[in-house]
Amino acid sequence: MTAMEKVAWTELLISLFTMAMAAALYPWLGNGAAGAFGFLGFVACGILFLRKRGNKVVVDERDREIERQATQTGIHTAWMILFMALIVIVLWASQTEDKVIATGVLMWLVWIQFAILYGVKGLVAVLLYRSQRRAT
């Protein structure tokens, strides 16, 4: 497993754990459960895998290509879900009497975008590494 594959696993697992924690805490804390998204900060721990060891190459062109594809897919997915969610929210709000959207909903939406971005990015990278390994 290359260093960047470990980084991808870190991003995937941390984003899944974060979303699970936020969902699990919501019944007790309400909007306060969004604090669980702070766990996303731990994706930065992935940098620990990128420490240089002797003269060994840690990240090469294949890693960069996979990273590029995974990031692109993650960003596109997050944007798509954001737009779709906004359409749903606006349509739903237009049906209510006061036509107001709670800021808490928008806050959750933004946090979920970040979790989805890292989750999809990690998942795509892991799948690309696995598919290349299976082909050999």
């Binding site: 290359t2 190459v57 062109e61 294949r62 890693d63 390994r133 082909a135 050999t136």
Partner: protein, 73 residues
């Protein structure tokens, strides 16, 4: 408009390594500046190298790029 699939690029890196005193994947990877997993993916045809990497490999084995890489029609 449907996108054309990337052509499959085959190579003879594994054979060339075997001819070079059974050079290991790690030794080749170190000499061309990539990870061992990338050499493994290259040999299995799962990864198409950049022009720079193809040139480095060709120079290392003292061959032209066409002698090492070819498009699988």
């Amino acid at each position: 408009m449907p996108r054309n699939r990337e052509p499959n690029i085959n190579n003879s890196i594994k054979e060339l390594r075997a001819n070079e005193d059974r050079m290991t994947q790690q030794a080749l990877a170190d000499q061309v500046g990539v990870t061992r997993q990338t050499i493994n993916a290259l040999e299995g045809g799962a990864y198409t190298p950049s022009l720079a990497l193809a040139l480095k490999i060709a120079r290392l084995f003292d061959k032209s790029i066409e002698e090492i890489f070819w498009i699988d029609e």
